[in-house]
Symmetry: C2
Subunit: 380 residues, 2 copies
């Protein structure tokens, strides 16, 4: 099981939340460690928007993964004890079926013909994978950022299938600030003439729009405080500046954003980005309240619906982690999640970290996050 | 003096900080109230990036101004006592000379031939206006946002010309988060093919780029907290949504951003926006430290230079106001300004407001700002 990227065929048709169905869809995943005979040591990791299934090095792919210092033998998520699965989100483009995949019914790339995607669909694809691996109950379900919302979708749709949950820097429902940021990212892509209503190719590619979207992402994933210490007002060397461009990058922070954009722009499919970004805006646990599953209508208070929905979640234990410098998924939202899970009957540990790196802290502040996660897993 | 927009011709040539000079330049301004015989009751307001000189209704223009509830007879800045001047920033496009003006030396619009503009130049244009109105000493100099940086530039370049200072939601030097946001706004404009290196016209106008820039501005000018209360997850009525656009606006917050962008895009010149935005990034009081006026070099600590520069400021009294929800000019920066002015010998009052509206609070939370400003002015 320790080979690198593997593929799991979803049941076909795979019914989606908004009424469509996928034919012949798959998800890519990777694993670390060994499933116990009792099949009770499995951890599933649901990721943020952009990472693939390669969370860490393994036999099949020794290159470092996006959570390299967290997952592995003797590491905070110790693969000597746990059988760890990381799945590429349905709708993404790192091996799972999404808008950049071939539609088997037409033989052509889906593009905007890909059906409406929700994070509940992402969750269900993960659930099918877990069941397909012969696992009835997860020992722990971990979700980061968008993956935290997908994880809530998993718990809401499949109660009693998970023993413990780790929720990291996420939300019970997308709030307007995060919606505004994501909406603007999508607009930047769509306004790029090369996007061409989803019909781009390698030669005519919405590079400018993707670059703006990614830079805006990075700005909101980090924190102003971190950047004061890291970049201050350091200017680029004259050689590093574009000649003849009076408004080109001049400060180190601008060059940092350029570097991040450059790495991302061609490695993530723009249409897949749009689908997953919109799915994050749509996410709202209130839709899972009993008896009235419709989205909240104009002006209606959704607080009681959120509580009613969370009451359906049935996990024994949860660890909820937030970061004080996170502007995209603020600490107050993590407190809401902790309170909601507690009201739903779970034994909840809430950890507020002062990492300076904002929303991205779970990727880089492994010292703080690792201690919290390892400590929690040790009690299971 | 109470007519609406008036024009003041700057000394020609008007020397600029980065070495160029403007020929035949002017600034637009408006006034309220009456200058006293002793000429000791004048207040100058330096504005944020986008407002013009029309801060409030007056005889020449009874339409409401951008600070309508703040400035007027019996209002917080009481024009029965004070002679109030508001100047459109040099480099802007609301009557003052900027990139959208005709270059008298060529008979053509400057566009990108407009010289490098700094906020010190904006300050100096305001200073020339004040002197031109026969005023040797301002009773009070007020600066909001970008205008707060311009005001610091005024105090640094013209010590002993101002008795009291009100600093609102601004910075001693642009920090990397604000630089990153503004850099991305400029990039969105420049990436719009209609920008065409500054050579747009009414038919071919960088509408998309300006729209992204403005929306990003509005997102950073307000606060996530305000929006949770104001928009929550309210969705647009079906009629208000664009047919056939799967990624079009769906939430009320998106429509709010569209409305703001629509009002701004054609009312502010894109090249002027680029010049003023870059000037904000460049601003750094550390450049005014004695003996070493060069910009800080790579990696150098600028803290001591900031203090050395501020020591040159000579005002008797200052009121520094910041807002806890401001992410663009955070409260910590306002504390730095207050501390710096105090070290420079001024008697400083520091007010931290809990307005939910973020950076824009000075425009909308007139109750809190008005009380602080009126209270301070009453003690002068």
């Amino acid at each position: 099981m320790n080979d690198a990227r593997q593929y799991f065929s979803l049941p076909s048709p795979f019914a989606m939340r908004r009424g469509d169905a996928l034919i012949g869809a798959q998800v890519a995943y990777e694993t670390w460690g060994t499933l116990s005979a009792a099949r009770d040591n499995a951890i599933l990791i649901l990721t943020g928007l952009s990472p693939g299934a390669h969370a860490a090095a393994n036999a099949g792919d020794p290159s470092p993964g996006w959570w390299e210092d967290m997952v592995g033998p003797g590491k905070h998520i110790d693969t000597k004890r746990w059988f760890v699965i990381c799945v590429n989100s349905l709708g993404s483009c790192k091996g799972s079926t999404g808008a950049a995949s071939i539609n088997p019914q037409t033989g052509k790339v889906y593009k905007l013909d890909f059906p409406d995607l929700t994070l509940e669909d992402v969750a269900n694809a993960g659930y099918e994978l877990v069941r397909g691996l012969g696992i009835d109950h997860l020992g722990c379900l971990i979700g980061n950022s968008m993956g935290g919302m997908s994880a809530l979708g998993y718990l809401l749709q499949h109660p009693r299938s998970v023993r413990a949950h780790i929720s990291i820097s996420t939300a019970l429902q997308a709030q307007p600030f995060a919606i505004a940021i994501r909406s603007l990212q999508r607009e930047a892509i769509r306004l790029d003439p090369h996007w061409n209503h989803g019909n781009y190719d390698e030669e005519n590619y919405p590079e400018a729009g993707m670059s703006i979207a990614r830079k805006l992402g990075v700005i909101t994933y980090r924190s102003a405080m971190e950047w004061v210490g890291r970049f201050a007002r350091i200017r680029l060397d004259h050689d590093a500046r574009a000649d003849g461009d009076p408004f080109g990058a001049e400060f180190a922070v601008e060059s940092y954003l350029v570097g991040h954009a450059r790495k991302f722009v061609r490695s993530f499919d723009p249409n897949c980005y749009l689908y997953l970004s919109r799915a994050s805006d749509w996410f709202d646990v209130a839709e899972h309240a009993p008896k009235n599953p419709a989205p909240p209508i104009r002006g209606e208070q959704s607080g009681s619906k959120v509580a009613a929905a969370l009451a359906r979640i049935d996990v024994e234990r949860a660890l909820v982690i937030g970061v004080s410098t996170d502007i995209l998924f603020p600490l107050s939202q993590q407190e809401e999640i902790a309170g909601g899970l507690r009201s739903a009957g779970a034994q909840v540990e809430f950890v507020a970290l002062d990492s300076p790196q904002g929303h991205d802290a779970f990727l880089v502040d492994i010292a703080r996050f690792g201690a919290a996660i390892a400590g929690f897993l040790a009690t299971l």
